[in-house]
């Protein structure tokens, strides 16, 4: 079930009614759990078995790990959980990819091998709920907290429908404590939740699907080159589409959850106003980047073993982060580019700090942002905006590899963007170019103006009638767009 569907409207109304009915707290939680299974099963019912398997195994494995004091046995029990979770993920998500690359490898060695093409369907949300259950087992193993005694609370934590299929990737401490005591949304939470749901739907239905998807789909599907303006418009369209699609889903999820009285973590914080890549990853898919930081980068050693190991750890983290998005070398390239930019940024930052310590920049006072130490002339706000645009430019380069169906397709589009192919045909209408241009400028402006603020702060500053008008405009535009219940891009990950 997707948030932008009539089915969800009815489902959500029923869930809200049940959650606000005078029923015992345990019954309300059972309602939420059953509703969440229904929410998931309406895609592909058999895959609910995987969800149950993951839930039950991790619940009991965590209890066994907590009760066990012999290190070797604890490790073995953890390994069972990891093998099961990552094994399922690998089979469903990477089975075909691994087999394909194995075949290519054997071919390159001169060994003829013809593998049967596996017909594997990717269960929706498997990457997300696998990370959710993994974080629980790993935290119990690290003795960060005791295992949850209630299977109901744990199952609801894993399955809770707002975050189940595309995040935010919740941590046990985010959600389980909220299930322990009765929660019901206050009137203010309910209204704020509905506003967030409206905003999320507007981002997904109107901007991502209604205004940008067709242009991005057209340009990325062409097997021939196009003019630089068309190529850039296509890339910018996808840049806006992927943000509005994914952040739109997260905003809907947070809003829906708030209507039920539960708070989910933020997943996006105006990423297209990021200054540098470290800043970008503090603003883009925050729950994934913190997951990768806590369960991959830091266990690898983080920055504790010298400069060289730090760069290696960064690259490993980002390469695997790329691969998490999908079974394709293009995602690896995307992750690799982000890793590379993070490394370069760190190099510049370290060099700047060393020079600042040596007093070379004592007079010029380098611009120190969260991510960068760069000495540039001019007004500080202008410099910061310039760096944000540079970051966005590089982020857009990485999106080419993320979206293009093949590596060759990505390289062709890159050549087009930089005018390396003369006499390529024009493809897009002026309306499409203007639409993408206006949406892009609008997005950058909103992100820049809100980068150090929040929607709550903005809402506090606005008079009530302005908020009403803005909220109504969002809903009217959603109704006007009339796009069918298109899937969210991140469901495929």
């Amino acid at each position: 079930m997707v948030f932008n569907s009539f089915t969800f409207v009815i489902f959500f109304a029923v869930m809200l009614a049940l959650h606000n009915a005078p029923l015992p707290w345990k019954v309300k939680k059972i309602n939420l759990l059953l509703g969440s299974y229904l929410f998931y099963a309406l895609w592909n019912p058999p895959f609910i078995l995987l969800l149950w398997l993951s839930t039950v195994v991790d619940f009991y494995m965590a209890r066994l790990i907590a009760d066990e004091h012999r290190p070797a046995r604890r490790k073995a029990l953890l390994a069972v959980s990891l093998v099961l979770n990552l094994g399922m993920l690998s089979y469903f998500k990477y089975g075909g990819f691994l087999l394909e690359n194995f075949t290519v490898l054997l071919d390159s060695l001169g060994i003829a091998f013809q593998a049967a093409k596996p017909d594997i369907i990717l269960p929706v949300g498997i990457s997300f709920y696998t990370f959710v259950t993994l974080s629980y087992t790993l935290d119990v193993y690290r003795r960060k907290f005791a295992p949850e005694p209630s299977l109901l609370n744990f199952a609801l934590f894993v399955t809770y429908f707002p975050h189940l299929v595309a995040g935010p990737i919740v941590r046990p401490e985010d959600l389980i404590p909220q299930f322990k005591t009765p929660h019901r949304a206050t009137a203010d939470q309910l209204r704020w939740g509905l506003l967030l749901l409206s905003l999320g739907l507007f981002m997904k239905v109107t901007i991502a699907d209604g205004l940008l998807a067709d242009t991005a789909d057209l340009i990325f599907s062409l097997p021939f080159p196009v003019q630089p303006l068309d190529a850039w418009t296509g890339v910018l369209a996808f840049s806006g589409q992927i943000f509005c699609d994914f952040a739109g889903y997260s905003t809907c999820a947070i809003g829906v959850s708030l209507c039920l009285g539960f708070v989910l973590p933020d997943n996006f914080r105006y990423p297209y106003a990021a200054i540098g890549f470290r800043d970008f990853w503090r603003r883009w898919h925050i729950t994934l980047s913190t997951w990768l930081r806590d369960y991959l980068y830091i266990p690898l050693g983080g920055n504790r073993h010298g400069a060289f190991r730090t760069y290696i750890n960064l690259m490993i983290t980002m390469l695997l982060g790329g691969l998490w998005h999908g079974a394709s070398w293009n995602f690896v390239v995307w992750g690799g580019l982000h890793g590379l930019f993070l490394c370069v940024e760190r190099l510049i930052e370290q060099a700047g700090l060393r020079r600042a310590e040596a007093g070379e920049w004592a007079e010029s006072k380098p611009l120190v942002s969260r991510a960068s130490v760069v000495g540039l002339p001019g007004n500080q706000a202008v410099r910061r905006f310039g760096l944000a645009l540079l970051t966005l430019f590089l982020v857009n380069i990485t999106w080419v590899f993320f979206r293009a169906p093949t590596f060759d397709g990505a390289m062709l589009l890159m050549l087009c963007m930089f005018g390396a192919i003369p006499d390529a045909p024009v493809m897009l209408t002026t309306t499409a170019i203007l639409t993408v241009g206006l949406v892009t400028v609008g997005l950058i402006t909103c992100h820049w103006l809100l980068r150090d603020s929040s929607l709550v702060q903005l809402a506090r500053r606005l008079p009530g009638w302005v908020l009403s008008l803005a909220w109504a405009a969002l809903l009217i535009l959603v109704i006007l767009t009339q796009k069918g219940s298109g899937s969210f891009i991140y469901f495929q990950f």
């Binding site: 079930m1 997707v2 569907s5 009539f6 089915t7 969800f8 009815i10 099963a41 309406l42 895609w43 592909n44 019912p45 009137a187 203010d188 209204r191 704020w192 509905l194 506003l195 109107t206 209604g210 205004l211 067709d214 599907s221 045909p425 024009v426 493809m427 897009l428 209408t429 002026t430 309306t431 499409a432 203007l434 639409t435 709550v456 809402a459 506090r460 009530g464 009638w465 908020l467 009403s468 008008l469 909220w471 109504a472 809903l475 009217i476 535009l477 109704i479 006007l480 767009t481 009339q482 796009k483 069918g484 219940s485």
Partner: protein
Amino acid sequence: MLLTKQTALLCAGLVLAFVVSWELYWRSQNVVLGYNDDDSRWAATRQLIYQSTPTRPVLIGSSRSKFDIDLETWEQIVGQKPIQLSLNGTSPRPVLTDLGNDPNFRGTLIVDVTEMLFFSPDRSFPEKEALRRVHHYPHWSLSEQASFWISEMLESRLVFLDEMNLSLGAFLKKLPIPNRPGAFGGPVFPREFEVVSPDRQSRMTLAFLADTTLQNEVKQVWVDVGKYVPMKPAVGAELLAILNATKRSVDQIRARGGRVIFLRTPSDGVMRQAEKALFPREKYWNRLLTHTQTTGIYFEDYPELRQFTCPEWSHLAPQDAITFTQNLIPVVRPLTR
């Protein structure tokens, strides 16, 4: 408190007022109530193919099949309504392949052949939409099915729920902003041109039939398509591959006891001249029939099928579609026995 009760109520009131006035406005413009011909409607129709019999054929093809074969007339004469799976602007070959590969399909198939679509190369633009729908069908989820039935209920009551003509995207497409030389955003038809009914029948509106300016607009669309999307008729090995793939699917259906008939519906004016020049009958239509050893109905071969004029060169007016269907059934009937 961030959002007061008044803020929420004012918002709800504004949205409700907009929806009511928007609906009333379009009703006052005499807009005919139609249905969205989307993925779900196609998938819901695709589910019916196993009920196909010689009197209840499955129709695949492009918009000509949807405009020219009147489903209600067919039902009145034969007793059963055909299953309409044709898709505007697409080649029927991806759907033919899909039905050929479906081991449970044993029905009767009428394949509309619009040469410039049917003989377009694999994976070309005319195939994309058909391929997309074919690939979507096995993944048509229970949730989408439920949404479709709710949407159906709303679409049957609200005129403004018309994604093709009255959505934000449709309005943007119709903005009179000139394009760069060489840029073509695809055909944009006047909203009066087509109204779709729940069974996927397409009909021109009375307003369209009464207004030659609107008809000329559509004629201009065909001229633009010819200008910006130059046809490259498949020849040689490419044509042979198309014929072989078609034969494979036809043979698969026949092997299971099904029947396949090719149908060429009327066209005229500049469109007909271009079709004749680019796709001479002996090189394409005749070769298709001989290669696949299949029977075909070419409108020009039957006096009762060639008496029609297409208002915009390519499709029949609703009244002509009724007569065309009445005349077509006696021609089809002996071929399906």
